[in-house]
């Protein structure tokens, strides 16, 4: 799903659309507004929406009519109602029509976000995403982390191995993980953070499904890794130390992968790729996600091969 879920906000008060837009857009949702039921239907006809947030009391075509129409023509679209008059009756009617949730007016940003997130998950029929927001992680992950902490509690110098395992388990080391480790090992949070920030191996930002480690060592430098890196950054639209919006890839610059014989080199996950050219590097990344780059890249790679 590129660009995040697309949501249509339907309300006769423009200020509601404006404020919902402000809260949700920064979270990566694609937001559009409609001033009433008629406009909403016209927009929905064009397709592409995942969720509809709608007021109930609107002139002309009201909320319940809109919901009925959506359920008939686009049953896959999830519906959330926004209402200032949440009487039990109207809510019950709406629930019977199959809405997901409702937001009382006026709403706070956190309530709106919370409801939106649940609605998105519900409509996609999947479990809550494990790494979302980094403040909570599934109980199984927490148990594994605690087991590791327990195993190293009495080992002198155990902090670095614990952090390494924790990063394997969680994927990165957000504050909540550092706090848990500090508590478990009976260290100050400052000490744990000091070690995390000192070593380049540790990251406080989530990495992508595939971590691209580009070697910036001397041999790779002499053999032109800079051009390769430039091309990768250009194609993934993120720089070193960043993760793509869809969390597919992250790019990391490393000092030397110790494979200078094959310079310039990069590693994706645990695999090493050598003798790179910009086109070859993109070709390799395309192997992980065909949507990277474009026809132009394939042509360039073919030309180089020939």
């Amino acid at each position: 799903m590129a660009g995040g879920p697309k949501i249509l906000i339907v309300d006769d008060e423009p200020v509601v659309i404006k404020s919902a837009e402000r809260v949700l857009k920064s979270e990566g949702y694609d937001i559009e507004g409609a001033g009433g039921g008629r406009e909403a239907i016209l927009k929905l006809e064009k397709g592409g929406y995942d969720l509809v947030f709608t007021d109930l009391k609107m002139p002309e075509v009201d909320g319940l009519t809109l919901i009925k129409w959506i359920k008939k023509t686009n049953p896959h679209i999830g519906i959330v109602i926004i209402t200032g008059y949440p009487s039990q009756d109207t809510i019950r009617d709406a629930l019977e029509l199959g809405i997901i949730d409702y937001v009382p007016k006026p709403f706070t940003p956190s309530v709106l976000l919370d409801v939106t997130e649940r609605a998105v998950q519900w409509s996609e029929g999947r479990k809550p995403k494990e790494d979302k927001a980094g403040e909570e992680f599934p109980p199984a992950m927490a148990a594994e982390l605690d087991r590791v902490i327990g195993a190293f509690r009495n080992v002198p110098g155990g902090l670095i191995p614990v952090l390494q395992r924790a990063q394997e388990i969680v994927g990165y080391l957000p504050p909540v993980v550092q706090k848990r480790i500090a508590k478990g090992l009976n260290l100050s949070e400052a000490e744990v953070h000091g070690v995390v920030s000192f070593y380049s191996f540790f990251t406080m930002k989530p990495r992508g499904d595939h971590n691209i480690r580009v070697c910036l060592g001397t041999a790779c430098y002499v053999k032109g890794i800079e051009g390769v890196l430039e091309k990768i950054e250009e194609n993934l639209k993120v720089g070193i130390g960043e993760t793509t919006g869809d969390r597919r890839f992250s790019i990391e610059g490393v000092r030397c992968l110790g494979a200078c014989g094959l310079a310039p080199v990069m590693m994706i996950d645990q695999e090493t790729y050598g003798a790179l050219t910009p086109a070859k590097a993109i070709g390799v990344i395309k192997g992980f996600d065909p949507s990277v780059g474009g026809a132009e890249v394939t042509a360039a790679a073919a030309q180089e091969e020939g």
Binding site: G157, I160, P161, F201, K223, R255, C256, G258, C260
Partner: protein, 673 residues
């Protein structure tokens, strides 16, 4: 798996060697696929799959297939070695699935070596104690097979191999690093048997001291002396540590040793532990080396199972426990006090010495830290004695040194040479000289970010600790990066300062602040903002940083600046005074122009130009439209007729009137300096 005794080691060696010997009725051929990190990345896995497939199809059970670590010639990976009865081994290079199938059909099935794919025949030269060979300098191994065709050059006739003598790398590409029996069959763990049952701690220290072995990690401190200090400090608890953190960009010797011959490191550590009286040890390895970590762990498990690690080793009453500790990526952790702090689970920052780690090291206990390469040399020294070790090298720099030869050179690879060999021999004979046609040698960078760039005029310098230091560089851990004239030395210095400024741990200001200022000045110069006073500032500041920094990182960080200033000052002056980067690397300091007299109007540059800034048609000399040019240098690299001139930034005049040089040098010729 039973615990071994001293006799068991000898028995294992005999039986394992006999089992592997090629003979009628037993194995009739042996194929070794070299699978280090480089080999795998270059495509060794499909080669192995093709081999297995062919064997199955042919129904052959008498072929022994094994893997081994890096074979040394990284540029020609994937490599395999094929041995058949009564024939010298043949090494094939640049392997592929199809080539493997061809070689299987021709060489293995029919006994005819495939000349066109072969690299060399014969066994690499080692004078380390290997079964069946008498020790002595440069032992010639048995390469006089009866029917060898001259079509395949022998090891002795191939410069890449001819000038090498393998001691550290004695087992590289020969043994399966995941088999302890393979290691034992090559005299492995005999030195441990000798050291633990026949030698006192003083005996071991004396042999290592007499051998003249110096630490291969960079500083070159005599290993025997280090061990002696630690052995004399009374303490119940001591630590024997191995530095496998290999942080220098451009160096991969330690990775190759750990991947290809992990037991040699463990054996060295057991002997060192006995010498200093330590019962615990750690190998500190970079987490970036997953294969090395895996193989070391396997080797430790195997050695522990067989009673070569743990309690009462070989029944000698000596105990030694060994563990692996994964580094988390900090260059400064190559410094011994910093590495020990890191082992304690803290920020790896160095502390002032004294007290030296030999007195107060890890957890304030006496500790010895040796580099991977140093430890891999211990076993042969114990078995063959100090005099044997001194038979190669010079008085003050004895033995051999492994170098990671990389950069703009033909034979990129891992090489081991006797100390005292001239740099020129390493670069031109072993390395095969500059790879790209038309390019000239410019400098060789030794010692990574702590080292320096050595120019052509100093290539006859013998490779010894003292002679290299005299050039302003250091041997360091052994990274040797060759640069051709397409490289700009100012931006090279900037590259290293960028590295050290980033890796400085921040504890002492001269390093933390000093390297940043050096970096800023160098950045200004490469971006065209250089001032005439910059050169003097760089020199002064460098000296101050060296004099006042706490640890080796700061004390050596200015070396790349000082050496480039020493040998390539004119490049700095060109950058500052004339806004001219003659190699065209610094984009802001170059104007690209086509010399109409040399242009053949072939259209190569026109097609290659990414910003379509070149115009021209057949038989009409091409022209670069300056307004569209992005200074990427693609045309310069593409042109086969040297017709692209690299002129100072914004230069519009006649190249003959360029400051200080004639037109001949105006970048039209590839090769300045």
């Amino acid at each position: 798996m039973p615990r071994l005794t001293v006799d068991d080691i000898l028995r294992t060696k005999e039986s394992h060697s006999a089992g592997l010997a090629l003979k009628e009725g037993g194995y009739t051929a042996k194929v070794t696929v070299h699978m280090g990190t480089c080999g795998v990345a270059a495509g060794a896995n499909p080669v192995m799959a093709a081999l297995r497939d062919e064997m199955e199809k042919a129904g052959r059970k008498d072929i022994f297939v094994t893997t081994s670590g890096c074979a040394g010639l990284c540029a020609r990976e994937p490599l395999i070695t094929v041995e058949t009865i009564n024939q010298p081994p043949v090494r094939y290079c640049d392997m592929s699935d199809q080539k493997m199938r061809d070689i299987f059909g021709e060489h293995i099935m029919s006994g005819r070596a495939v000349d066109k794919y072969a690299l060399v025949s014969g066994t690499e030269i080692t004078d380390a104690p290997v079964s069946g060979q008498k020790p002595g300098p440069s032992v010639k191994t048995d390469v006089t097979g009866p029917s060898e065709k001259p079509a395949i050059p022998s090891i002795e006739d191939t410069p890449f191999f001819k000038y090498q003598v393998l001691r550290v790398l004695r087992n590289k590409g020969v043994i399966d690093p995941e088999s302890i029996e393979d290691y034992i069959a090559r005299d492995g763990y005999q030195a441990v048997a000798k050291a633990l049952t026949q030698m006192s701690s003083e005996d071991i220290v004396k042999v290592v001291k007499d051998s003249g072995l110096r630490g291969r990690g960079g500083a070159g401190f005599p290993t025997g002396m280090k061990w002696e200090f630690a052995s004399k400090v009374p303490s119940e608890v001591k630590y024997m540590l191995c530095n496998g953190d290999e942080g220098d960009p451009g160096a991969f010797m330690d990775r190759s040793v750990m991947e290809a011959d992990p037991h040699s490191v463990i054996e060295g550590m057991i002997i060192g532990a006995k010498a200093i009286g330590a019962h615990h040890g750690y190998i500190y390895v970079r987490a970036e080396y997953p294969l090395a970590v895996k193989r070391l762990q396997l080797a430790i498990d195997q050695a522990t199972e067989r009673g070569l690690l743990g309690k009462n080793i070989l029944g000698s009453g000596f105990d030694f426990e060994l563990g692996i500790y994964l580094g988390a990526g900090a260059f400064v952790c190559g410094e011994e006090t910093a590495l020990m702090r890191s082992l304690e689970g803290k920020r790896g920052m160095p502390r002032p010495r004294p007290p030296f780690p030999a007195q107060k090291g890890l957890w304030d206990k006496p500790s010895v830290l040796n580099n991977v390469e140093t430890l891999a040399q211990i076993a042969p020294i114990i078995l063959n004695g100090a005099q044997w070790y001194r038979s190669l090298g010079t008085e003050k720099s004895s033995g051999t040194k492994v170098f990671a030869l990389t950069g703009a050179i033909s034979n990129v690879g891992l090489v081991e040479v006797p100390m005292g060999i001239p740099l020129r021999r390493v670069i031109y004979d072993i390395g095969g000289g500059i790879k790209k046609k038309g390019r000239k040698f410019k400098a060789v960078q030794l010692g990574g970010p702590s080292g320096g760039c050595i120019p052509e005029s100093h290539l006859d310098t013998p490779v010894t600790y003292e002679d290299i230091v005299a050039t302003g560089a250091i041997i360091g851990s052994g990274g040797m990066v060759v640069m051709d004239d397409a490289n700009c030395m100012v931006i090279t210095a900037r590259f290293f300062l960028d590295f050290t400024a980033d890796e400085s741990c921040g504890k002492c200001p001269p390093c933390r602040v000093g390297t940043k200022i050096l970096l800023d000045i160098l950045t200004d110069i490469t971006a065209g903002r250089g001032k005439e006073s910059d050169i003097e500032t760089l020199e002064d500041l460098s000296r101050d940083i060296i004099a006042t920094s706490l640890c080796g990182l700061g004390q050596t960080a200015p070396n790349p600046v000082l050496t480039t200033l020493r040998y390539f000052k004119h490049e700095y002056e060109d950058h500052i005074k004339h806004k001219w980067c003659r190699s065209g690397v610094c984009r802001d300091l170059a104007t690209f122009r086509i010399d109409e007299k040399l242009c053949k109007a072939c259209g190569a540059c026109l097609r290659a130009c990414p910003s379509k800034a070149i115009v021209g048609e057949k038989k009409v000399p091409h022209k670069i439209i300056q307004e569209l040019c992005v200074h990427c240098r693609t045309c310069f690299d593409t042109c086969k007729f040297n017709s692209i001139m690299i002129l100072p930034a914004g230069f519009e005049g006649d190249p003959n009137e360029l400051p200080g040089v004639g037109a001949a040098d105006a970048g039209a010729k590839k090769g300045d300096a």
